[in-house]
Each structure stands twice: as C-alpha cells, then as structure tokens.
Symmetry: C2
Subunit: 225 residues, 2 copies
C-alpha cells in the first residue's frame, strides 16, 4: 500500500463526492493501482448510451495504453477521440459488520477520465513491445514482436493520466455504537488475486523449460501468496 | 464452467460482434458468472459523457440488484431510469503465446444493458436482507437488518437480465503455425480470486467465535483454493 499523499483533485469530474477522505490524487498511488491490474473496464458513450467492456491495460510513464483489433467498434470509437472513462478495481476484502447497513468492501478503485490518442509510427512498435512486458513482466526476449501486418491490424491508444482519482477503503467494519453489543461476528475476509502453476501449451516442445517469469508470475508490488 | 448452451442474442446491442463463437446468451452461464462476482463495473452516460464505477452486486432470480446511498449522484441517475451498462469480468488466466500478437487472456466477461427500476415498500427490506446473504453466503441470522431510517437512506435498483451477453475465452495460446518452432515458452498462467483467513474486528468480544461462513467464505460454484 503506497503512503497516503493526497493532492488536489485534477478536475471537477475527477473529484470524489462521496467519502472524500478516501480520495487519493497522487501519482504514486495512481500508478501503483494501475500497475497491479491486468485489465480495466473501459466505458464510452455512443448516442448518449453507455457501453463498458474489459480491456488489457499497461501503464507507461504517465499514461495508460489500450490496444485491440483495428476492426473493433470500441477501438474505432476510442481512436476517433471520443470521451472515455476507465476503471480499475482491486477487491481487497469483504467487510462483515454487525448490521447489514455497514457491511462493506475493502477496495482500491481508480477512475480515469480522458480521450484516446492514436499512436502510430516507430512509437507504436516500441510501445507494443513494452506493453507485452508490462502485462507479462520478465518475458522480454521470449516472444516474437509484432510483424508489420500485425501492427496494421492493431490499434494502439494512449490515455494520458491527467484526470485520475483513486478511492481506497481499508480496515475493519465501522459499526454503530448501539450495535457493538450484538452477538454477531464482525471482521474482514481478505480477498486476493493469485497466479497459479503455469500450464504449458500442448504443442510446446519438451525441450523448452518453464521460464521463471511464468513460474513466479506476479504483478509489480505484489507478493506471491 | 457451465455447459456451453448458446441461444440467440436477445438484442442488437447485446450481440457480440468480435469472436461471436465465444458468445454465450443462456441464463445458466449468465447467472453463474454473475453469482461468482461480488462487484461489477456500472457505466452510465451523462450529457453523452461516460462514467464507470464499481458497485456491489447480487443476483436474485433473473435480475441483478444494485444498492447505494440515496444521496449519491450515480444512484440518483440510475433511479431516474437512464440507460446503464454493467460488466462483470473474471480474469481466469494470462495466455502467453510465442508472439506478442497472440498473447491474450482467459476470462469470463458479462455485459448487461438495461435500465434500473427503483424497488420500494416491503420488497425493499426483504431484498436488501437477501442481498446481504448473497454477498456473504451463510451469514443469515448473524447480522441486524436495515432499520427504517437506513432503508430510507438506501436506494435499491433492480436491473432485469433481459439483455445480457457473456464472452468466454479459455484454453491455451493460438499461435501462428510459422511460430511453433520458435524457442519460446507458451502456455497459460492461471489466475484466481481467493479468500483468506478472516480477521476479527478489533472491537469484537472474545466470546464470539469465527463463524463457518467467514472461515470458509467462497462464491457459489467456486472451490476453495
């Protein structure tokens, strides 16, 4: 968990209205929460109707990158520069209180508002290479980079982190004083995303050993359970 | 994993355009994917701008329920009956291919399009009770139900599952034939959400023992890791 360094909210729509004491607007927190995620929920609005889909993400410097098939409706919408909203949520615990009202969850939730910028040219190949190693840390040198036709079939979108806000809840249940004497259990059930024993592809040559990056897969800053 | 029983897509916007062979529109799959989730990403469109936030969910019969503070902007928007789009994604694996292009993820992703319906009256108290036991299975009788003032402070929204679609990817990497001889590892790193040893609240009376529902917390259909 990064230290709590709260700075000013970057914009009106990026300002947390509910429970503002749980807001974090500092880059360190925002980067850490993004880096631990493999996927984000990406929302767009088409003819004033909402759509949300999961997408693989990678943070590089102060931007988050989205990539996908150039033929997909969502990628074409993002490439056109329409507004997007992106959410990453790590569920950290189920908070069990003495009252239904105060049952809750521990989580780190990051919301980014912005617009996509299409990345082309030399940057595109370099960034797609980097994105692979962000999603599979340590895999450099163990995969073939994109061919020209694959680069063409892929749209790469940069979303600057200018408007990002993180909301974090941690700790135990906050019960009403009047409920503390109730004979009910209260506490937290921790939740964690864990990475298991890798399964080799059925068509893998026997001579190729399981690499360390797969055996010890973990997100940056996360310890193996 | 439920059996693959694909029926017709319920609507145009609920139809998967990319990789339609991964689409599942049957109720059994949709219910199972929802029931294993504690939170969903809920997207709305306000003045043609997208917003997405995580919310606790519970499925009861053929609807998913959202609840939150009556003062929250999102709850007021949902209560007004505007369109919403909801996504639940379970990340099941990191798919490592021989080429960056074919690296992928195994997942179960559910998208629901719909409109919220405000629940009031006797149903509200009954459903909020049921929602607590869906989020914390087995906890019946171990918490205090909502008081009248708490019911008033909470908005409960029903979203019928009339327009829902699930996209599922499973299995190993699908490499190009020309890449199969490359000396790179390929396979799947399994990903799972696990529930740890519960932590009792600091103000819990010593006489109250850890209940089984907390000790063995798990989502329906999920086995303890």
């Amino acid at each position: 968990m990064p230290s709590r360094k709260t700075r000013e909210a970057p914009s009106q729509r990026a300002t947390l209205k509910q429970a503002p004491k749980r807001a974090h607007y500092d880059k360190q927190t925002i980067h850490t929460v993004l880096d631990q995620a493999v996927i984000a929920s990406v929302a767009v609005s088409i003819d004033n109707e909402p759509f949300v889909l999961p997408m693989a993400i990678a943070r590089i410097d102060d931007a988050v990158y989205l990539h996908g098939s150039s033929t997909s409706r969502l990628m074409r919408h993002l490439a056109a520069g329409y507004a997007l909203c992106l959410n990453v949520t790590h569920l950290d615990g189920i908070v069990v209180a003495r009252s239904a009202m105060h049952c809750s969850a521990n989580y780190r939730s990051l919301v980014v508002h912005g617009k996509g910028q299409v990345v082309e040219g030399e940057d595109k190949a370099r960034l797609l290479h980097q994105i692979t190693t962000r999603i599979i840390p340590g895999s450099e040198g163990d995969y073939r980079d994109h061919l020209p036709k694959e680069l063409k079939a892929t749209t790469l979108i940069k979303v600057p982190l200018d408007e990002a806000a993180c909301k974090i809840r941690s700790g135990g249940p906050i019960d009403d004083k009047a409920d503390l004497e109730l004979p009910y259990w209260a506490g937290v059930i921790p939740v964690q995303q864990v990475y298991g024993e890798p399964l080799a592809s059925q068509d893998l040559h026997e001579s190729i050993e399981l690499p360390d990056y797969a055996r010890h897969y973990q997100r940056p800053g996360q310890e193996k359970a």
